[in-house]
Amino acid sequence: MNDRLTTFISGQRDPGGTLVVVFLRGGADGLNMVIPHGDDLYHKARPGIGIRRENLLDLDGFFGLNSHLQPLHRWWESGDLALVHCAGSEDESRSHFEAQDFMEHGGLAAGGWLGRFLRTRPDAGSSPLTAVAIGPTLPECLRGAPSCAAIQSLDDFGLGPHVPAGFLHSLATLYRSAPRELGPAGRNALAALERIQSLDTRDDPPAHGAAYAADPFSAGLRQISRLIKGRVGLQAATIDLGGWDSHLTQSVIMDPPMQRLAAGLHAFATDLGAEEMARTHIVVLTEFGRRVAENSAAGTDHGRGGVMFLLGGGIQGGKIHVDWPDLATQLAGPGDLPVLNNYRDFLAPILTKQAPGSDLTKVFPGHALRDVGLY
């Protein structure tokens, strides 16, 4: 089996590494995650729910990180984490469903941007594990991917627990002499299987002292980490974290998912370690941010500009990408942070880094990309 394994791995070692897309569903309030504490208008607009200077982790003298995101601070300091404020898409519906679809499709295009990327990248994957969605269903962004699987855990991979002894040997015998493309494909698949099974049985503890929490987000990231370390040819993984729709009692709603987000990403990045993180890009998106002014229920309503987190992959971190707007005169619609940074402009360089030579006009049709200088 070893010769097969080697063939498979050498064929699958993606120099670009893995793209991990985290979607915060429900419209995460960027203003209370990455707080413009140097802007008095922020404090005025949010007298009840605004985060006070003494309760946050300062980033650059003007912005600060919510203390519930504290585990991420270390990645900011090490220069691995970049932030994008006033980020979002053109969609102005302020509808969760519409805005998520728009962002995941990459505009009014058909199919998902990630699916198109995986299909058109020059080194399109030939592994059955090219793309994985953690969760019960595939997200829209993966629609149209050449191959992808929605999984809850690694146990969903492979042929399952009901493979009789002798089955794989019989397959190997027949595929050894299979005609045309079936022969090599069969040998690849058998090698992949071997790989998955060794992952199944060898549940290594996380490396570098990383500790994953028990919630589904952290557990899902742990599965992704095992796939990355297992070298199964994983090019992209998606995972959702919901619960951000903070129309009332904002901190009661938002603090728990913020803690899960930060703890999960911290454990994941620690577990992967520096070498692996250099090849792994983590992108955190949300469909929209929220209204600047708090509402009468100590919450915030659907808005426009939100925050993106970009972690790893050799990105030049410790930096917030935004030309901060005047909150008195530059708000959008009913009083929302404007979208000044189109999310595609920040995905594009990451996709190019992952798969040089990708035709981004096919991934993001109808959008003129702006150079944002991430590296």
């Binding site: 929605a150 042929l159 493979v163 009789p164 002894a165 089955f167 005609p179 494909a185």
Partner: protein, 490 residues
């Protein structure tokens, strides 16, 4: 081959088959025993193929259908392979009421007028479309029609996730693809050009010229030439794309977001049409024809030799080989041209080529074909529900989910990354572990007349010694045969 000599051959082959069993399928029998008390689905004893190689009957079943059902090989052997082809080319003469009744409950697909579709949850519509497609492919007796529906669905691919297409694709499937699958190509093209779902998908609805400085949207015009008709090397220029786009300006569709009434209705708005003179592929179109430009374009492109060649090549790739011989392509293209783009005579010419009869078992099934052929071969019943659809999704071949206008690829290589999931399907299916899908396992072995015979039924020829050996020692013989290289071929 005369009927008499075929019968003689069959007899001889049967005799050979009886002594050729290698060690039997004890594992299969053991394995299936617990399932043998299942419900009776009326599966009668049948005669599987007995030849060493794929014979005429097995070949036409492979190529014109989504795979043989129990007993079909004997049926086709009796009537003759060419008679089977002739029958499949006239689906209206085949009674298919049973299939129709099984899919009648997908009421949304019959919604009329178009606006009724908008009343549905779009995910429900996609589910109904998908189920109907699977169930028709599995059960319809009009198999060639279903195979061509699959072919044209890719040729005129629409990913319904774009805009109002979410609601309008069922109408496209019904009124463009299914209505014309074995009819007239020019008529199908016309229906497609005026399909509200396509007008959304390729932006035709915003292709307009209301002011002097407005440039038409080229998207639909380009795909019309590149994918639907002439083909990318068909000899058209950028100027032709622009001119076709001008011809198509003004055709719009009432949008969900803007209209309350008659949503999905296609209308020609003359004030949005560029009514000047045009020149398409060297043919002049005079000014002032208005909506009439559309039919001029259809005439020009469907009579163009490059269109005949493009379609002939695609059809030969589907029915003959990934690299079909030039002689076959020319013959099929000529039939297309001389029949004015009629699909039946075009296919008749294709099935008449020596290349068609010479290429046996040389193509690789796409995943949808693979799954459906497994269901057909085993007389399976399925609700085509989420569990089965999940398998198709993993296999990368969920119906109506291909994002770009070129449709799912026909060639084998892009599908090789998901071979593992074919094996997973074979294992899950064989142990009756796909929710909503099952087959009469024990009856199947008995009806086929034993394990060797069942293997021959699945592979379309007698299984080799190596295949029987591998099946017998696999611990799950049926799954192994479904997962084997031979079952991936057709």
């Amino acid at each position: 081959m005369s009927p008499l000599s075929r019968r003689t051959l069959l007899k001889a082959a049967t005799a050979g088959g009886a002594v050729a069993g290698i060690g039997g399928f004890s594992a299969l029998s053991q394995w299936l025993t617990p399932l043998m008390n299942g419900g009776d689905d009326g599966l009668d004893a049948f005669q599987p193929p007995t030849a060493e190689e794929i014979d005429d009957a097995a070949h036409v079943l492979n190529r014109l259908t989504f795979g043989p059902r129990p007993g079909q090989h004997a049926e086709v052997s009796a009537m003759g392979a060419r008679a089977f082809i002739a029958l499949q080319l006239e689906p209206e003469k085949i009674d298919d009421r049973w299939t129709e009744s099984r899919t009648a409950r997908f009421e949304a697909l019959h919604a009329w007028p178009m606006g009724e579709l908008l009343e549905y949850d779009s995910r429900e519509l996609l589910d109904q479309l998908t189920r109907r497609k699977i169930l028709h492919a599995v059960h319809s007796k009009r198999q060639l029609h279903e195979v061509m529906v699959d072919f044209w669905s890719d040729h005129f691919n629409i990913d319904p996730s774009k805009g109002d297409s979410k609601w309008l694709k069922p109408a496209d499937d019904r009124d463009v693809i299914r209505a014309h699958a074995l009819g007239s190509f020019p008529e199908m093209l016309r229906a497609s050009l005026l399909s509200p779902s396509m007008l959304w998908y390729l932006d035709g609805r915003v292709n307009r010229r209301a002011a002097e400085n407005e440039r038409p949207n080229e998207n639909h015009a380009r795909e019309l030439l590149e994918l639907h008709t002439l083909g990318v090397h068909g000899g058209y220029s950028q100027q032709d794309v622009m001119e076709v786009a001008r011809c198509l300006t003004g055709w719009t569709v009432r949008e969900r977001a803007k209209s309350r009434y008659a949503v999905g209705k296609v209308e020609f708005r003359s004030h949005l049409h560029d009514d000047g003179p045009k020149s398409v592929l060297g043919t002049e179109i005079p000014a002032g024809l208005g909506a009439g430009d559309l039919d001029r374009v259809i005439n020009i492109v469907t009579r163009h030799p490059a269109t005949a060649r493009h379609l002939a090549t695609k059809l030969c790739r589907r029915f003959i080989d990934e690299s079909p011989p030039e002689a076959a392509i020319s013959k099929v293209a000529a039939a297309f041209l001389s029949s004015g783009g009629a699909i039946r005579p075009t296919l008749t010419a294709l099935f008449d080529t020596s290349a068609f009869w010479a290429s046996r078992g040389g193509k690789t099934k796409r995943p949808f074909h693979f799954v459906v052929s497994a269901l057909r071969a085993t007389a399976a019943r399925s609700n085509a529900g989420p569990a089965l659809q999940e398998h198709l999704l993993r296999l990368g071949h969920a119906p109506f989910q291909y994002p770009t206008p070129d449709g799912y690829p026909e060639e084998a290589q892009p599908w090789m990354a998901t071979l593992l999931w074919r094996w997973k399907f074979a294992l899950d299916f064989a142990r009756q572990a796909i929710d909503g899908t099952s087959f009469p396992a024990g009856k199947l072995v008995r009806a086929a007349g034993g394990e060797d015979a069942l293997a021959a039924h699945l592979l379309g020829r007698r299984a080799s010694a190596a295949e029987m050996q591998a099946a017998a020692s696999s611990g799950a013989p049926l799954a192994l045969l479904l997962a084997s290289p031979a079952f991936q071929r057709f």
